[in-house]
């Protein structure tokens, strides 16, 4: 484990956006290989429910990847579900990501994300206001959310139920006058009730990564669509209509299972589709 650093509020390294919120934490503990100035770079929070749908996972992952690729720092809470996917997406793009914990900086919580934490530390920071050894507890998570919101100019809620912790992050963000964005979901899905409610209240809908980059005034990068084969292109086109299983794709596009498997792997490596529990889904279109 890398050494733990501590920055106090009066230190110059203390992130200025965080210092501007209503009750900034008196100190931050940091773990990770990079300099603390990443906390000053334009950051976006990508948050959402722990129990999420495969749609939410796929969107969280590709938002993390595309926003990090565009140079934004992706901030999230390292929880299961959307948070973890956002971090993973950012790491896949080779970008910088920051995880804010609701427990002591030395704890890997949830335990299943120990490996993820290690990888975040290689390329970003793990942050907490709690001293080493503090146990995770339910009441600490809302407090952690204020740091996530505080570090970022904008917060994206990918998927949230009506009473989700991710909405608390959005509330903090609004209170501090930061931008709140939400990913639209099916109106019949209870997993999207929270995000759809945010949209009704005036949050900016996220339909692609550019919607977010616009908020930051970043020009979208040249659309560099990776070269894929003919079969892969056909499959991708069909997947943009709806998510399908591999077998359904085989039938819909009329190609052999062997060729489809190879083409889907090609798309997966290119980051153009996401696979979840056997269902393929097109990544966000650029």
């Amino acid at each position: 484990m890398t050494a733990v650093r501590r920055i106090r509020r009066r230190d110059t390294a203390y992130p200025s956006l965080l210092a501007a919120i209503h009750d900034p934490p008196p100190q931050l503990y940091l773990r990770g290989e990079v300099e603390t100035d990443v906390l000053e770079r334009p950051s976006v929070a990508v948050v959402g429910a722990r129990s999420c749908s495969s749609y939410g996972r796929a969107v969280g992952r590709s938002l993390g990847r595309e926003l990090a690729a565009a140079g934004l720092v992706v901030v999230s809470g390292m929880a299961r579900g959307i948070d973890g996917e956002a971090h993973r997406g950012a790491l896949e793009a080779g970008g910088v990501t920051v995880a804010v914990l609701g427990c002591g900086i030395d704890r890997d919580y949830p335990a299943a994300h120990g490996e993820l934490a290690r990888r975040i530390c290689e390329r970003g920071l793990v942050v907490s206001e709690y001293e080493p050894g503090v146990e995770p507890a339910p009441w600490r998570f809302p407090a952690r959310n204020r740091i996530i919101a505080g570090l970022c100019r904008a917060t994206i809620v990918v998927e949230a139920r009506e009473r989700s912790g991710a909405l608390i992050t959005a509330d903090f963000s609004l209170e501090e006058g930061r931008e709140v964005l939400a990913v639209p979901g099916e109106i019949t899905s209870s997993l999207s009730a929270g995000t759809n409610a945010l949209l009704r209240l005036g949050a900016t809908p996220v339909t692609c990564a550019e919607d977010v980059l616009e908020v930051f005034g970043i020009a979208p990068a040249e659309p560099s669509v990776p070269e894929v084969g003919e079969a892969a292109r056909a499959l991708l086109e069909r997947l943009r209509e709806s998510a399908l299983t591999a077998d359904e794709l085989v039938r819909a596009c009329g190609i052999e299972a062997a060729d489809a498997s190879a083409a889907l792997l090609e798309l997966e490596l290119a980051g153009l589709v996401a696979l979840d529990d056997g269902v393929y889904r097109a990544a966000l279109s650029r």
Binding site: R50, R80, E92, P110, A112, S242, L244, T245, A246, D247, E248, V250, R251, A252, A257, A258, D259, A260, S261, A262, A263, L264, L265, E266, E268, L269, D277, G278, V279
Partner: protein, 487 residues
């Protein structure tokens, strides 16, 4: 007066020669069987005596009769000694000529009315007889086709009286119907044409058959995982004569050989319930018997609902998966059973079965999900070369047409096996590059890389390609274990 008959006892699958000696002497009348015999063998006394009397033969009433099964240090089990014991007794009483008995082996259980019943392990005993230089085996008429497989001349007898008449030279050896070999192929094996859709599952099954890869099928209940797995034996090449004998011997010893079909020519399929104990799956018992892994030798072992099996069962599979042999050590000795089988496992994507099913929301807590998946150790999962997710089909308008018949698939499998047996296709540089970049991008371990390379080779062989090209590697990569499983 002394007389001797020969039979064989089984140690595991190995026949050991046993001499059955019957001695009549004067003294207090009685009947004793000695020579480390088990309960069923002790009870032979009653069956033999009734059988002899029912056959209108004479039982030595007022003499002392001792039957010894030599070597005495070898444990003897089962009812197959009834026939040799009765023949030895009859020879000792000179009701049949003892010298004719010397060049025959005998095996069979006696009914109280003197009929001869078939027993388990006849094939192995007949093989033992051939190795001991005995060309003829007296056995139950129903067992004759089985004994004939060993390359000996069976003497099928329906009744003890018939055996005596034969030894006295009153009749010739009764004839029996040899096996109609051709009629046996493909019996009872379900056809792949029954499976609609599941294109990727079918493809993975074909690759698994061609490369003898172990296969893991994951998906919610009712998507046809088990149905698909049951069709694997039907697309495997039929057993060669030697393999068939080997498999038949194991099933014969386990007493599972159907009488009407004594030679197993189709790769066997075994599917033990997930409540099965480790000895039942691996083999064992105080006198070791083959378990499910050995009954699946040269065939398919399906473990349906893999994570529901007890951890000890799953872990004990590692030795046979690695070595193709199960060694059972007991106080009485050490026995090895062959167990070179192809493993197919099925599992749900989560304990409630909701994952992968668009109509159901998974209600599993992360803890339950983790516990479910932890049941499968990394070491076991490493043995699966191919993994296929089989989610529930969603779009009804994409109804699947009926699939190809097993026969056609088997033709391709046989071709690929021949090519793999001749020259292993090598990876092109471009294919190696793809593999390396995939290792960087995907959660793929070093062992995972080896698995993918192996599967890619099989895919190339199925395609009839001379080298492993990038599309072959790409397809192989798509059958890797789901990322959330430890791999």
């Amino acid at each position: 007066m002394l007389a001797r008959a020969v039979t064989h006892a089984l140690v595991g699958l190995e026949p050991r020669k046993v001499e059955v000696e019957a001695h009549l002497q004067s003294g207090i009348p009685g009947f004793a069987i000695v020579g480390m015999v088990d309960r069923a063998c002790q009870e032979a006394k009653h069956r033999v005596r009734s059988g002899v009397l029912s056959s209108s033969l004479e039982w030595p009433l007022n003499r002392r009769l001792t039957v010894n099964l030599a070597p005495a240090a070898l444990r003897k089990e089962g009812s197959g000694f009834d026939l040799p014991i009765s023949l030895a007794v009859l020879a000792a009483t000179r009701q049949l000529p003892p010298e004719r008995l010397a060049d025959h082996a005998a095996i069979g259980e006696l009914a109280l009315d003197g009929r001869v019943r078939p027993v388990a392990g006849t094939l192995a005993v007949a093989e033992g007889a051939r190795r001991s230089g005995l060309g003829r085996v007296v056995c139950a008429a129903d067992s004759a086709p089985e004994a004939a497989l060993a390359g000996v001349e069976p003497v099928p007898v329906r009744h003890l009286g018939e055996a005596v008449a034969y030894f006295r030279g009153e009749i010739d050896a009764p004839s029996f119907e040899p096996l109609p070999r051709e009629a046996l192929d493909g019996l009872d094996v379900p056809d792949l044409a029954d499976v609609r859709g599941q294109e990727r599952g079918r493809r993975a099954l074909e690759i698994a058959a061609a490369g003898s890869h172990n296969l893991l099928l994951a998906g919610p209940p009712g998507t046809g995982k088990t149905m698909l797995a049951r069709r694997l034996p039907g697309i495997l090449p039929p057993l060669t004569r030697d393999e068939a004998l080997e498999v038949t011997r194991i099933h014969s010893v386990a007493g599972l050989l159907p009488l009407e079909r004594p030679l197993i020519t189709v790769p066997p399929f075994r599917s033990p319930h997930h409540g099965a104990s480790a000895p039942a799956v691996i083999g064992g018992g105080s006198s070791p018997r083959p378990g499910e892994v050995s009954l699946a030798h040269r065939g398919v072992l399906l473990l349906d609902e893999l994570p529901e099996f007890s951890r000890s069962v799953l872990e004990s599979l590692r030795q046979p998966l690695e070595d193709g042999v199960v060694s059972v050590s007991r106080v009485g000795g050490h026995v090895a059973f062959p167990a070179r089988f192809q493993l197919v496992g099925t599992m749900n994507m989560c304990p409630c079965g909701g994952r992968g099913d668009p109509a159901v929301e998974c209600a599993c807590t992360p803890q339950r999900l983790a516990a479910y998946r932890e049941k499968l150790s990394r070491a076991l999962l490493d043995r699966f070369d191919l993994a296929v997710a089989m989610p529930r089909p969603r779009a009804a308008e994409l109804a699947a047409p009926p699939g190809e018949r097993s026969e056609l698939v088997r033709g391709r499998v046989v071709g690929a096996r021949e090519r793999l047996g001749a020259v292993l296709p090598r990876r092109t540089d471009a294919a190696s590059e793809l593999l390396s970049s995939a290792v960087d991008r995907l959660p793929l371990s070093g062992r995972g890389r080896v698995r993918v390379a192996r599967v890619a080779r099989t895919i190339a062989a199925l395609a009839g390609a001379s080298a492993v090209e990038p599309p072959h590697v790409a397809e192989a990569l798509s059958y890797r274990l789901p990322s959330e499983l430890p791999a």
